[in-house]
């Protein structure tokens, strides 16, 4: 009798953890720094590499595939785009929902086109990195707590969307094991600030295995147990000189859990500027308790 092919775990650097798996037989393929956004764009270099690796594995028809994709989006790319979009009236949850819907649509296309029997999304782990690199592409900042809040929003959105897209999509995550009650990261899970260490691989396999076998979602502690967050984030506009024309200024935005009046980028301090163009209807309290407001407006009294 022909043996069922091993599950394929493919994606970013977080997929590599499973090379150390002793209790879960699997095949691991590392694409590189693939994001969910790049996965959705079929002409992107990372998606083309992903497709090539899938071919090299001999195809995935009738196999279970674990996609380890999306951590980089949340740790870095979301923080670059979100403040700009929030300042134009898109809510934080609309933004995340839109990204998740696009990602899950493409996962469904992948299932239809390859004949994969089941896809499990390996959720983004918590991160200890407090700040994104500050440069022209990432003029953004966020504490590990604010990043974790965004992961939580992402998880909510995946949980709400996945079952409506296909019963062949599952989701598993260690995220809620990796954070404290106040949503800061537990450093014992992430000694290098980004990756789950190999000595935790068995925990990860135990979380993943039931989902491989058909349980639709495994987020760890029930989402309903997560308390209202009541955390305030603010859109803080600042101006920085154009890199080639220092007398010209570009406006940028930070989304931050902020109490400071300025930000330091590449060693240079910038003050936040008042910005009447951030519409008041861009702000509000999300269903998760996240409040977003323009930096220039006073916080509402409790």
């Amino acid at each position: 009798m022909k043996q069922a092919a091993l599950p394929l775990i493919i994606g970013d650097c977080h997929a590599l953890l499973f090379r150390a798996a002793k209790t879960l037989p699997c095949q691991v393929a590392h694409v590189g720094p693939i994001t969910a956004d790049a996965f959705c764009r079929r002409q992107s270099p990372m998606r083309r590499l992903f497709d090539q690796l899938i071919l090299q594995t001999g195809g995935v028809a009738q196999r279970t595939v674990v996609l380890s994709i999306s951590e980089i989006d949340i740790r870095a790319h979301f923080w670059r785009d979100l403040p700009i979009l929030l300042a134009r009236g898109m809510s934080l949850e609309q933004f995340v929902q839109r990204r998740v819907a696009g990602y899950l649509d493409e996962v469904q296309n992948f299932i239809n086109e390859t004949g994969v029997s089941r896809v499990v999304l390996w959720g983004p782990p918590a991160s200890l990195l407090g700040q994104a690199p500050h440069n022209d592409e990432f003029p953004t900042a966020g504490s590990n707590r604010t990043r974790n809040l965004l992961r939580h929003t992402f998880n909510h959105s995946v949980a709400a969307t996945a079952s409506g897209v296909s019963d062949r999509i599952g989701f598993a995550s260690m995220f809620y094991d990796m954070i404290h009650n106040d949503f800061t990261s537990n450093s014992s899970w992430i000694p290098d600030a980004i990756h789950i260490p190999e000595d935790r691989v068995t925990d990860c396999c135990e979380r993943l295995e039931p989902v491989l076998n058909g349980i639709p979602l495994s987020l760890g502690p029930a989402l309903s147990m997560v308390p209202e967050l009541a955390v305030e984030l603010c859109i803080a506009p600042y101006e920085r000189p154009h890199r080639d024309s220092p007398r010209e200024f570009f406006k940028n935005w930070l989304l931050t859990e902020n109490t400071k009046q300025s930000v330091t980028i590449a060693g240079q301090a910038f003050s936040f500027v008042s910005d009447a163009s951030v519409p008041s209807d861009a702000v509000g309290v999300s269903s998760l308790g996240l409040q977003v407001r323009p930096f220039s407006s006073p916080a509402s009294p409790p």
Binding site: Q43, R80, R98, E137, D244
Partner: protein, 85 residues
């Protein structure tokens, strides 16, 4: 040459200049089909910067939806032309 054609040509030139500023290559090397994943260096990191540079050059503001949808010079040109008439 009618006014609409002149406007379109001027918008296209401004968009190509913005792309050139961000990607560091001559404006005339970019055509309307250039865009995200189609053009060397035009990756997701450069993309938002290009959109903001186009806004600045043309004095327009894209909506949040447009910022997420626009992926090529032609697409930007279509929206800018519709906005400016």
């Amino acid at each position: 040459v009618n006014t609409n054609d002149k406007n379109t040509a001027s918008h296209l030139a401004a968009i190509r200049r913005a792309v050139s500023d961000v990607l560091g290559r001559p404006a005339e090397s970019f055509g309307s089909e250039d865009g995200l994943d189609q053009t060397d260096g035009w990756d997701s990191l450069a993309h938002m910067t290009i959109l903001l540079a186009v806004e600045k050059n043309l004095g327009v503001e894209f909506t949040a939806d447009e910022l997420l949808e626009l992926r090529s010079i032609q697409a930007m040109l279509d929206v800018v032309s519709a906005q400016t008439g």
